[in-house]
Symmetry: C2
Subunit: 338 residues, 2 copies
DNA sequence: CTGTTAGCGCCTTCAA
DNA sequence: TTGAAGGCGCTAACAG
């Protein structure tokens, strides 16, 4: 098959040990002449170490697992890109898995990646109020295998992970406050799943802003979505039926759904309805009516998560959770009421 | 560390061999009682085989490498998603690498994935007229290691890969013909790199359609882009300066750039200029003026590439290159001239 | 300075 | 029906 270290050793008349020493740049011992000769023959024979064998003995695979719900979602695609680049820059290779809606699938990937020797796992799974057993099992198995994990939210007290997160509550607050300042009083929301902590946090920010403005909270103005395009499409008629003048979509994808639905109803954004999104994906600038949105920096968060997992792998100190702060980017989709 | 097969063997009083036999479902030998007991203790101890060790001896890692230029690009994100799902369904895990513009980076990933024991590689790298040495080296090293490769274009005769491709020429032809049928006579193009075969093919289709319509080809109407948003932004003023009435962008991303630029010039699509894209990403339907585009099915092509690489790995027959045919999806961005 | 000897965790003949 | 022994390719003590 492939050329092994043994072949190289035989070819240049040294022992396997010496060859290994040289090829791994162990500075110690070994004469310059031997080193040169070994390097030369290894190169000539196009020797490449078998990482499986190396990993088996060193316990280092230079591999990081990354598990996301959906690769084709803008936010995760950007994040994956940043993670992959940072990992590469540090000599790590990325194993990729996506689980869609399935906790079970996520847990399977978790186990699989650990079995494959991943030295760390970046796990982009939103926490819900009551995590499933499958989900807890992920963290449990990682702990047992001493594989560090980075998540994008703070889990419960029994969940051991380094956290790189975002102030979703503040994001919800900023978005709502912006619409309030523009004179809107009936503001609809397209939320994420009702059990999802990051969605609940946005909703809290929304309520707080309303409260500060002295506007009573009306649960009818919340339409429960799932962060997918269709949620936005379905939310628009519902919310317009509630006489909202503005819609805060808990992510950009759902805001795009609102856009799409608006076209089919012959409605004009922002004249007939203001829209604020959440994520600030690059599409927002390209739309005919650019989308006002909360900046949720996928690239920076991905980068930071990669940095953290690498520090953990190296046993370097990692400090407190990293919390990214939201900011608001105002564009044409939100309009000041007369 | 983790529990090994040896631990399980000791715990249930059988030999490592027997345990291995049972855990790998080798039907032969082993009493039902032994089998049951072994299975039970393995589960209790939460035994998970170490894939590195398994791979070292079986030469099977159940891993497939996937190398793309840019993860966050719609087209590749969708493709990656499909590949990941198909691989998972067949018990393969995906290693992900992106190389941006760098042939060297691509080659590094290639070597790295092979060293990590990838059993096959899906390589989404557009071919250029004169492939660099780094690039040829990728295929060479794969051949040497007997690792099958799937590409999305037909390479030269010395490039050994299974091909899952698309009729780019026909795509260029259809897009152009559509605009001609709508009465356009000066049709600008935003192309990809001038050396890139798939861009050249689109341009050939464009020329053929013009020729059939008896319109002389004017090289000034080609603006050389790079498949990125900015190319489209820059192309618009250039092409309008050449008095085109329609623009055929060689991918959707550049078409979006044209959209964005159009807004800043206060131009209306399709009134002032028709636009046709290429890829038909899901955004096209969401735009205020939905984008007419050539359907370039990322999901299907990704799926097929995964199927092919798996067949190759299994040593199953794979037949001729798979060629996807383009179709045109007409939407609001192209307009019939009076 | 260099080679010998043990494994890493697992699978697989071969022998019992 | 089961177990012992060897080896995958490599690193790392430990000797020379």
């Amino acid at each position: 098959m492939r050329v092994t270290i043994k072949d190289v050793a035989r070819a240049c008349g040294f022992s396997v040990t010496t060859v290994s020493l040289v090829l791994n740049n162990k500075e110690c011992r070994v004469s310059a002449a031997a080193r040169a000769k070994i390097l030369k023959t290894a190169a000539e024979m196009n020797y490449k170490p078998n990482h499986l064998a190396v990993g088996l003995v060193t316990k280092k695979t230079h591999t990081i697992g990354m598990i996301v719900p959906d690769i084709s979602n803008f936010h995760f695609a950007e994040m994956i890109k940043a993670i992959e680049q940072e990992c590469r820059a540090n000599g790590y290779i990325v194993l990729l898995g996506s689980y869609g809606e399935s906790d079970e699938q996520a847990a399977e990937y978790f186990a699989e990646f650990i079995a494959k020797g991943a030295e760390g796992i970046i796990f982009a799974k939103p926490f819900v109020k009551n995590p499933s057993r499958m989900e807890l099992q992920c963290y449990e198995s990682a702990r047992a295998a001493k594989v560090p994990v980075v998540t994008f939210e703070q889990g419960g007290p029994d969940i051991h992970s380094q956290v790189v997160t975002f102030d979703y509550r503040e994001g919800g607050y900023l978005a709502t406050k912006h619409l309030l300042e523009y004179g809107h009083r009936r503001i609809g929301c397209v939320t994420g799943g009702s059990e999802m902590l990051s969605s609940i946090a946005r909703a809290e920010g929304y309520r707080q802003a309303l409260e500060e403005a002295g506007i009573p909270f009306d649960p009818e103005l919340l339409y429960e979505g799932d962060f997918g395009l269709n949620s936005g499409i379905q939310a628009l008629p519902y919310l317009l039926g509630k006489n909202v003048t503005a819609i805060f979509a808990f992510n950009d994808m759902m805001a795009l759904g609102v856009y799409k639905a608006a076209r089919s109803y012959n409605l004009n954004i922002p004249r007939d309805c203001s829209v604020v999104g959440f994520d600030d994906s690059f599409m927002n600038e390209i739309l005919e009516i650019p989308l006002t949105s909360i900046v949720h920096p996928a690239t920076e968060m991905g980068l930071e998560s990669a940095r953290q997992i690498i520090r953990l792998i190296r046993g370097e100190p990692v400090g407190d959770p990293v919390v990214f702060r939201p900011s608001l980017r105002v564009r044409g989709s939100s309009r000041r009421l007369a």
